[in-house]
Structure formats: structure tokens, C-alpha cells
């Protein structure tokens, strides 16, 4: 296929650089500088897609971000698949491969299209819900087919090899949009010395100036663009970002810009200097002032069959002709409500093709552009509009009639004008999306027939977004805005004299949204309001009739302004129709909320480098290499990678854990306890602080001693626990749970800073400074004696003491504490000595068969002793007394420590609270399920009162049976009772309520 719609001259394309591309399997050619859409039009491709719901054939309608139809699936490789790309925004490159998003088996012959063309009556809004409502059980089945029939692209099934970056910026002035106002603002702010970021979503900066008919300072507008960009490039504090969309506007002038860096070059990012370039950048900009120069989008008119390929926006027609040298048809009918639309007819005529007629809704069109059309002998039909397009896959004619706008009716007879293109212009809608993202409601301007910004602090709107349509006004507004922004950012703003632009006399526009048809809206041919979502005027009318009168309800019922479209073309027309039907004004009807993102963004760009380990960093202890060497299987505990168990050979997890448990009970085991949180506490009030923070007493703890402590929130619920050692009178070493470390430090800071600032106490996290190796088991002392340089006898180093020592020749703190119930020493050394000490332990430990064990064995061993794990036995609703830990509650401490008062509230005093118990399954082989609910009766009835749940459950090799810890209502009074627990497979197990301490209840084993 040749480029039959390509003009011989003109446009900003490079005819010496032809590019090949593939669309729906057909090989085509375009030129450098084309978009995919302009290249498709050049090749005469009318049908580029099928519509979302009715599967109607659709063609290119717009030339930019507002395109509702030409949405394609891009990518020549599986990994490079990108869904929902607007062909109007995709630069053409050699080898580009694109497919229509919808259409089965293809866009030209579509099966769903049959259903859609059987008539709109069959698929009104809510069609799917109304039709497939019963039986409800069948909905999942229906949904599968509906999803298949209605979709917008697919995501790649391979992972994306491309790299995406995030960048942070602070600037004085961020300018969004590099059309006339944005460039003017950048010049004013830049010359004032402001740090400026100017971004624009298009391939080239210049906006409307790139296809303008007007002159600036006597030269074509595009030359002025080049001059300004050249000057801005010389200013050191001005950053120019083309191909960059400001997609989200967040609080306090925080704007996210999405820069596409390689998507105009290839499917996947190309290599440069042997490295893959980053595909996109997300710029996170905090700006003192934001100049919104986003311009305006032309509003199409809503008339019958306005979606048949060949129906286009007037401005888009001009853009394709003037910027891309493509004329999208042979014969044109223009339907307009304003002077600006005339440019399409003038450009069409000047390109040497036929303008059949300009149909102007105004009775007496008058203005310089109207005069220019008349001077070319173009037929102007006034007081009229195109009420319907004819044709199936391409427009064949336009039905034109005189209309009464006020009365919303067609007057007199209709006439049919043969043409292959209908351009329409219903005026402009300011692009206020970014002004509305932070929640400000836009304000209706009757003089503009559009909404403008409701005013965002720190934001200045300029040019088209402000309703300043003419080039002269837009430039003037831009210069003012740039200077004002610089001044408000604290700079001495310089005044820039605007360049000379000839004034254009403009006739007054008229407000027309939906064009009346000879038939009422409900029976007229489909008049599309939102083509991307297949929302028609009749659909909106039906929605309001069915009671969806709020515009937000209309939106949700019909789909108006949904999805990637975000109401760019359809919103105002939709509101106008809802307003007409409900007999309200448009401001009374109001607008829906615009949300980020303005245009779709690849997830990769949002994620940036925060992938895999950089998304959630993993923490490894200083002993990690040793664990790897010993074949550890790991589990994630928070961010930590902790050894879970150490299988030998082909050993199963169960067997490994049983072996590790026996090794500790009979010999000696070694656990990496480094992940426990460690906080140094110093200051003359450190001891008093601990007294207030912990539930138990710290007044008498001497240097060289350790104590277990329990922490509550002020509601009396247990929040953390750990052992704290007294290093010196005013110096303590606290340990916390692995997961609670950061939270406990925050908690201490909170109380110290806000409640007890008078206490002189300081905290410092030392978790990563120390590595902690627990050696535990009956042979632990013998092993310690071989590596430590101190007397480790029971007399010299009793339980709950700590000692400073040299272990394997390096300084260490040894804590004689036990979480297994066996004789235990926790050896702490500086983290960088970890591997040295570990190696020494295993060398000396070989003769005792020193067995490394992981978290699973640690869990079994501590549960046999009834030691709780915060967060496993507790869930924020458990008091120390519920855990049976009254021994750890200092009721007599003078200060009302955190949590104490709450322990005497009626609810915490209830005797039927859930309390910690042990459960011994009657069948010794049974291991109850963690989380299993406890009931008191064997027979199931409804309702079945539940009395608690299992918190921990294991098989104990030393006990020879399964056992569990559980929280049970009134548990301390139920010792010896039989309770019942169901398991996932439906079977019911009986268990006896016993003490939570299963092993060595007298604690003789660690007191040796």
C-alpha cells in the first residue's frame, strides 16, 4: 500500500527517511517525524480498531492524548508488549509492530460487531448486569465471556527487561506544556534566573505552534519555537523535558512527570556503550510554583454515527495536514460552532482537496477566518449542523440540517452532502485535569462554555487552560504567568516584551454539544459522547431517566469518562446532555472528579528501580556465609533472612527439626540470634525510664545482671518483650523481638519526647553492630569453657548474669539467658568478628557434635517450655495476665507504668478472657493446626460457640507427641477439660487442656 494520503510537501516529517512498520500483519511505510496515527492515515487505513462494547469500526479521530479510538497493542517482542498505546502519541520507528486492541478475528470482520450492529436497543447501559443477572450463580461464567469480548489490550507474559528510573527535583517553577503560553512562561521565568523545568508530552515542544497558520514577529510560528528553545537551552537552570507527561498533581505542588526516553526508538530500550538505556524516567518534582500551560482540547460535536471512520476533530485535521503532511481524505464537510474550526477547511482547501461545505451552527458567522473561507469560495451553510454521518467503514456523506439550538430541534428538511471526511468543532475544553487532581472543583465559565481551574495554591494557569484561546492572548498570558511565578518563588522577575502577533478578529462562538436529530435522542442513530467507552447520548439520557441523576452516578452507570480516557473528549458533552435532560445548567450538573494519571503509565515506570530486592530489601546477618556453608534453608522474618532449618543430606524438614531439637536437649546446638533488636540505653534516668516502660521492676538490677522484661501499650496489651542487661549503673543493653525492633525504638522516643522530656535518657539502635550466637544444651558450658577466657562455672557465672570476656580472642559479651530451657549462653561479638568466632565454635564444638539449628527448632523448643512469642501467642488483645505472666507485672512499682492503669479496667479484669493454655491432643500423633478454632462440644450445631484458637503447634521429639499453645476463654479454669478442634480436612480432634509448660516445669535444666 502506498502513502496515498501523503502530501508532496509540507509538514515536519523527513521524506528522506522512510520507515517501515507493521500494522495488523500488514507492512507499511511512513517517515521519520510521523506518529503511528499519521502514518496509518497516510496509508489510507480507515479502520484502526473496534470499539470497546459494540465492536464498531473506528478510525483515528484526534491527533494527541485525546484520541479515543486509535488505541493499539504495541510490541514486536513478547517482553516488549505495551497495551493501550494511543497511535496519535506513538512516534513511528523502523520495525514498529502494532495491533488493534479489539477485534476478533480481525478489525475488518468482527464477530462482536454483529451483536453491536444489531442495534443499540439491545445493549443499553447496564446491559450486562440486566441481561446476565440471573441466575446469580452463573455470573462467573458470564463474566469470563464478557471480559473476553470487552477488553483493552493485554499485558506481556514475559518479564520486562527494561530499566526505569526515578529522579527527584526541586525547582522554582515547573511549567507543564510547551505551547505558546508554556514557552513564554519558561522564557520569562528562565530569564529571571529561576530554576525551571519545562515539560511537554509531545515528541517536539511547541504545541499548537507546530501547526499554526499564524506568524510571530513576521516569521512562521515554528521558527519562534526554535528560537525560544535555543535560548532556553543556554540557560543553566532550565531543564527541558520533551516526551514527558505531567501525569499526576499531588498535594503541595508535588508533580510526577513521566519521561519516555526510548519509546520513539525501538520496542525495547536500545543499548548505548554496552548498557541498556533506561526506558523511562519518573521525575518527582516539588515546585515552588507550577505554571499550568496545558492548553485546551477541542470538543467534538455529538451527532448521529459520529464514530464512523472519517469523523474527526477539526483541529486534528489541521494538525495532520500541517504537521505531518497527511490529508486524511478527499472531500471534507466541516461542522463548527466557532471560528477556530474554520482552519481545518482552510488547510484542506490549501492542500488542494475539496471542501464540500462548512456547516456553521451560528446564524451569522463573522470573523477573519470566516472571511478567509469565503474568499476561497468555500460554501458556508449557516444556522446548521451535520446531524448524522452516513457510511459503515468510512464516511460516505453528511446529513445536514438547519437547527434550533435553544429548542433542541431540527428545522425544515435535511440535505445529504457527499464527502469522505466530516470534521467537527464544538469549541474548546481547557485541560484542567492537573488542576483537579488535588480535589479542587473546577469552575464553569459561561463565556468559554468550559470549566477552568478552581484555583490551586501555588499554581498559575496560563493560556488555553485559562480560556485565552488566541495566540496573542496565550503568549501574553504565558509571559505574565512566568514572571509572576518567578517573583512568587522569590526572584526578581524580568519583564519580557511579547513578540508581535497580528490580531485575529474572531466571531462569537455558540454553545452546542449534542446536535438535535430529526428523531428523538433515544431513537436517533447512535450519537457517541465517549467513543472509548462506547457511551452514547441516548445512554446518558436513559441513565438519568432510570434515576441516575448525579453526574457521578451517570459516569458509573454509563462508563462516561472512565479508564484511560479520563473524560478528555466526552465529559463536557456528557454533562451538557445530562443537564439538558434533567433541565439543569451545566454548573448545576457539575463535573466528575479527574484522577491521576492523565495518560496511562507503564507499571515499570511507577516501580522504577524498586524491584525484587530493591523493593523490599533483605537483611542478612553477619553469619550468613556460615549458614549457606551448612546448607541452611531460610525463612523471611520481616526483612531478615533467617536459617529455618539445616537439613542433612536428603533429610525432610520434619526430620531435620526433630534431630536439631534432640541435639539441643541432649548435646549442644547453635542458633544465630543476631536479628533480635538491640537498643543501648544511657543516662542518669535510664533505670527510671525502664521502670516506666516495662511492666516489671528494674530498680534493683545490678551491673552484670540480666532480666526478662515485658512491655505493654497503655491499653494494657502486651506489645513486646526481651532481655535487658545492666551494663553499668546508667547504662543498659535492651533486646527486643526481631520484628518489633524499630517500633520499640519509636515507642521509647515517643514517650521520652512527649511525655517525660524531664528524664535524662538516650537511645541508640545497635542491632547491626552485634552478632549473637546462642549455644545451648547440656554441653554448652564445656564448649564455652574452650573458647572463652573467663571462669564459666555455675558459681562464677550464674543464670541471668552476663560477663565481659574474650571469646576466640575477640571482645565479647556473654549473656547466660535461655529461650530453650537448657543451659544457654548468648555470645555477642562485634559483627565483623562473627565469622571468626563462629568458625572457632564449630572447630571446638565438633567433638560435642555442635548442631546448628534454625527458627523452626527454636520455636519447638521454646513452646515446649511455654515461652511465648510476641505476635504469635499475642495479637494486641492479650494482657500479661492472659499469658499467665503475673510474675512479670510490678503492681507495687510507684510510677503508673505504661499499661498498668488499663489492667484494672473492667474488661481487662474479666475472668473469661482468652488465656494462654497448653493443649495435648488425645491422639499423640496428631499435630493440631495453628489457627484452629476451639469448641467445647463434639457435636456440631449452629451456632457453634467458639472459645479460642491454637497459636502454636508442633510435634515434640522429647515428649513424643504433638502439643500446642492456645488462647482459650477462661482457660486457666479449664485445666483437665477436653476440648475439640477441627482441622482443614474436616476431621475433629480432641485435646486436653494442660499447663502451657510441657517440658521441665520446675526449670531444673537451665539452673545447672
Amino acid at each position: 500500500m502506498s502513502q496515498r494520503n501523503r502530501l508532496g510537501t509540507g509538514g515536519r516529517i523527513d521524506r528522506t527517511r522512510p520507515l517501515s512498520f507493521n500494522f495488523n500483519g500488514v507492512s507499511l511505510q511512513g517517515f521519520a517525524g510521523d506518529t503511528l496515527a499519521s502514518a496509518l492515515l497516510a496509508n489510507g487505513v480507515d479502520v484502526v480498531n473496534r470499539s470497546f462494547k459494540y465492536a464498531r469500526p473506528r478510525g483515528v479521530m484526534a491527533a494527541g492524548a485525546d484520541e479515543p479510538n486509535a488505541i493499539v497493542q504495541l510490541g514486536s517482542t513478547e517482553a516488549g508488549q505495551v497495551p493501550n498505546v494511543r497511535a496519535t502519541q506513538q512516534a513511528l520507528y523502523n520495525g514498529l509492530v502494532a495491533k488493534s486492541t479489539n477485534g476478533w478475528p480481525n478489525v475488518d470482520r468482527d464477530v462482536m460487531g454483529l451483536l453491536g450492529s444489531l442495534g443499540g436497543q439491545f445493549m443499553p447501559p447496564g446491559f450486562y448486569y440486566k441481561t446476565f443477572m440471573t441466575p446469580a450463580s452463573a455470573w462467573p461464567k458470564y463474566e469470563q465471556y464478557i471480559r473476553k469480548a470487552a477488553g483493552l489490550g493485554r499485558s506481556p507474559v514475559e518479564s520486562d527487561p527494561d530499566i526505569y528510573d526515578h529522579m527527584n527535583h526541586h525547582c522554582d517553577v515547573l511549567i507543564v506544556g510547551a505551547g505558546p503560553s508554556g514557552l513564554a512562561a519558561a522564557l520569562a521565568a528562565g530569564r529571571s534566573g529561576a530554576r525551571v523545568i519545562l515539560c511537554d508530552e509531545q515528541e517536539e515542544m511547541g504545541g499548537s505552534l507546530l501547526d499554526s497558520r499564524e506568524s510571530i514577529d513576521g516569521s512562521p510560528a515554528a521558527e519562534w519555537v526554535a528560537t525560544v528553545l535555543a535560548e532556553l537551552a543556554t540557560l543553566p537552570d532550565v531543564l527541558l523535558l520533551a516526551r514527558t507527561t505531567a501525569n499526576g498533581y499531588h498535594d503541595h505542588n508535588f508533580v510526577t512527570l513521566h519521561e519516555r526516553r526510548t519509546e520513539h526508538l525501538a520496542d525495547l530500550a536500545p543499548q548505548a556503550n554496552g548498557r541498556r538505556q533506561s526506558r523511562a524516567r519518573m521525575h518527582k518534582v516539588r515546585a515552588k510554583r507550577v505554571v499550568l500551560a496545558t492548553g485546551a482540547l477541542e470538543r467534538p460535536l455529538v451527532y448521529g454515527r459520529n464514530d464512523v471512520p472519517g469523523n474527526m476533530l477539526a483541529g486534528a485535521v489541521s494538525t495532520f495536514i500541517r504537521r505531518y503532511g497527511v490529508i486524511p481524505g478527499k472531500t471534507l464537510v466541516l461542522s463548527t460552532t466557532n471560528d477556530h474550526g474554520y482552519r481545518a477547511a482552510l488547510d484542506w482547501h490549501d492542500a488542494g482537496r475539496t471542501v464540500v461545505a462548512i456547516v456553521d451552527a451560528r446564524d451569522k458567522p463573522d470573523g477573519d477566518l470566516v472571511a478567509a473561507a469565503r474568499s476561497r469560495n468555500i460554501r458556508v451553510i449557516s444556522g446548521s449542523a451535520v446531524i448524522e454521518a452516513q457510511g459503515k467503514k468510512r464516511v460516505t456523506s453528511a446529513v445536514v440540517a438547519a437547527i434550533d439550538i435553544e429548542g433542541f430541534r431540527v428545522m425544515g428538511s435535511t440535505q445529504e452532502l457527499g464527502c469522505d471526511t466530516i470534521a467537527s468543532s464544538g469549541g474548546y475544553s481547557p485541560v484542567i485535569h492537573l488542576a483537579a487532581h488535588t480535589g479542587r472543583r473546577p469552575v464553569w465559565r459561561e463565556d468559554l462554555f468550559g470549566f477552568v481551574s478552581g484555583g490551586v495554591p501555588g499554581q498559575i494557569a496560563a493560556g488555553g487552560v485559562n480560556g485565552r484561546w488566541s495566540l496573542r492572548d496565550a503568549l501574553e498570558d504565558g509571559f505574565e504567568a512566568g514572571a509572576r511565578a518567578a517573583a512568587e518563588a522569590g526572584l526578581n522577575a524580568v519583564t519580557v516584551t511579547p513578540p508581535a502577533v497580528a490580531a485575529v478578529r474572531e466571531g462569537k462562538a455558540v454553545a452546542l454539544y449534542e446536535v438535535p436529530h430529526t428523531k428523538p435522542t433515544m431513537r436517533a442513530p447512535k450519537q457517541f459522547v465517549d467513543q472509548q467507552n462506547d457511551v452514547t447520548a441516548a445512554g446518558i439520557e436513559l441513565a438519568t431517566r432510570e434515576g441516575f441523576e448525579s453526574i457521578e452516578h451517570v459516569k458509573r452507570y454509563t462508563g462516561l469518562g472512565f479508564g484511560t480516557d479520563q473524560g478528555k473528549l466526552g465529559n463536557i458533552n456528557g454533562m451538557a446532555i445530562a443537564a439538558r435532560v434533567t433541565k439543569q445548567t451545566i454548573p448545576e450538573t457539575g463535573t466528575t472528579v479527574f484522577r491521576p494519571n492523565y495518560t496511562p503509565i507503564a507499571f515499570g515506570a511507577i516501580a522504577g528501580r524498586h524491584c525484587d530486592e530493591l523493593f523490599d530489601p533483605r537483611r542478612y546477618t553477619a553469619l550468613h556465609a556460615s549458614h549457606l556453608e551448612r546448607g541452611a534453608k531460610f525463612e523471611e522474618v520481616g526483612q531478615w533472612m533467617r536459617p529455618w532449618y539445616f537439613p542433612r543430606g536428603t533429610e525432610s524438614m520434619h526430620d531435620a527439626v526433630q534431630r536439631e531439637c534432640r541435639a539441643v536437649r541432649e548435646g549442644v546446638g547453635m542458633l544465630d540470634a543476631s536479628t533480635l533488636g538491640k537498643i543501648e540505653i544511657q543516662g542518669k534516668d535510664a533505670r527510671e525510664f525502664l521502670n516506666r516502660l516495662y511492666t516489671n521492676a528494674w530498680t534493683k538490677l545490678e551491673p552484670g545482671k540480666c532480666r526478662y522484661g515485658l512491655m505493654c501499650k497503655d491499653d494494657g496489651m502486651v506489645m513486646d518483650d526481651g532481655v535487658t542487661a545492666c551494663l553499668a549503673e546508667n547504662h543498659f543493653h535492651m533486646t527486643t523481638t526481631t520484628g518489633g525492633a524499630a517500633g520499640v525504638l519509636d515507642w521509647m522516643e515517643l514517650w521520652h519526647q512527649t511525655e517525660w522530656p524531664e528524664l535524662e535518657v538516650y537511645f541508640n539502635s545497635t542491632t547491626d553492630n552485634w552478632v549473637a550466637m546462642t549455644i545451648t544444651g547440656p554441653k554448652a558450658r564445656k564448649l564455652l569453657a574452650e573458647v572463652a577466657d573467663i571462669d564459666v562455672s555455675a558459681e562464677a557465672f550464674p543464670y541471668m548474669d552476663w560477663r565481659e570476656a574474650k571469646v576466640a580472642g575477640v571482645p565479647a559479651r556473654i549473656f547466660r539467658i535461655s529461650f530453650t530451657g537448657e543451659l544457654s549462653y548468648e555470645i555477642n561479638v562485634q559483627a565483623n568478628y562473627a565469622m571468626h568466632v563462629c568458625k572457632a565454635l564449630f572447630e571446638k564444638g565438633a567433638k560435642y557434635d555442635l548442631t546448628p539449628y534454625g527458627t523452626e527448632t527454636m520455636h519447638v523448643l521454646r513452646a515446649e517450655k511455654g515461652f511465648v512469642i510476641i505476635g504469635q501467642e499475642t495479637d494486641g488483645s492479650v494482657t500479661p495476665e492472659d499469658l499467665g505472666m503475673q510474675w512479670c507485672v510490678g503492681y507495687k512499682k510507684p510510677y503508673s507504668w505504661i499499661g498498668r492503669r488499663a489492667l484494672s479496667r473492667p474488661d481487662t479484669r474479666r475472668t473469661d478472657r482468652k488465656q494462654l493454655v497448653g493443649l495435648k491432643p488425645l491422639d499423640p500423633k496428631v499435630v493440631l493446626q495453628e489457627g484452629a478454632q476451639i469448641v467445647l462440644e463434639k457435636e456440631i450445631k449452629i451456632p457453634m460457640p467458639m472459645y479460642g484458637h491454637v497459636t502454636s503447634s508442633y510435634f515434640s521429639p522429647v515428649l513424643g507427641h504433638g502439643f500446642a499453645l492456645a488462647l482459650l476463654k477462661g482457660g486457666s479454669e479449664r485445666m483437665g477439660q477436653t476440648v475439640y478442634l477441627s482441622s482443614g480436612d474436616g476431621s475433629l480432634h480432641a485435646a486436653e487442656v494442660v499447663s502451657p509448660v510441657f517440658y521441665d516445669p520446675k526449670g531444673t535444666r537451665h539452673h545447672v
Partner: protein
């Protein structure tokens, strides 16, 4: 994303450095053991959820690690002031309403 002025650091920093800690000025009854159950319950559990001006406690968690207070409009997200613990807000609902009723009186 909010841009928050830390009164300890004396500069504006990004919200991601901070953590919100809920309503500010929650006074712990000075004599907990003699406080009634109801008073203690109110202290523990009841919080304001105003539409408009709100005094909040924030924590500069990955900055100076200090707590401070923020007066913020929960509708516009505008931050009207930040101040250190122990200080009282200058902008309050009363001061705002006060100015409004002044206008009313002028009518």
C-alpha cells in the same frame, strides 16, 4: 504527597521521611490510678476526626527522629503550622471560627 516543615530541622522535607502518629495533644491523665475507668477509656480510645482543622502528631522517622505537631486542614490538606511538643497551636478551630463570627458581627 505533603511537604512538611520540621520545626526541629528547620526545613521542609518530603512526607516519606515522616510518619503520622494521629491526634496531637492527647494528655495522659496525670494520676492514672485515680482516674475513672471512663476517663481512662476516653484517653485510650477516643479520637477526633474533624472535617477541617486538625492538630496532629508527626514523627520525623527517617530524619531527626523527633516528634512534633502539625495543624492541618483535612479537606484541603493545607498545613497551617508546625510546632514542637509542649507548645500550643496558634491556628485553631476557635481562632478560625472567631474570625468568621467577627465577620458576622460586622454585618
Amino acid at each position: 504527597m505533603l511537604h512538611i516543615y520540621c520545626p526541629h530541622c528547620d526545613e521542609h522535607r518530603e512526607e516519606e521521611e515522616f510518619r503520622s502518629k494521629g491526634e496531637a495533644h492527647i494528655a495522659r491523665p496525670p494520676e492514672p490510678e485515680s482516674a475513672s475507668d471512663e476517663d481512662w477509656g476516653n484517653y485510650l480510645f477516643f479520637r477526633k476526626n474533624p472535617r477541617g482543622l486538625h492538630h496532629e502528631q508527626w514523627f520525623h522517622a527517617v530524619g531527626c527522629r523527633k516528634f512534633f505537631n502539625v495543624t492541618r486542614d483535612t479537606v484541603s490538606y493545607e498545613i497551617l503550622e508546625t510546632y514542637k511538643p509542649g507548645q500550643q497551636p496558634v491556628v485553631t478551630a476557635e481562632s478560625r471560627n472567631g474570625s468568621a463570627s467577627d465577620k458576622g458581627a460586622a454585618k
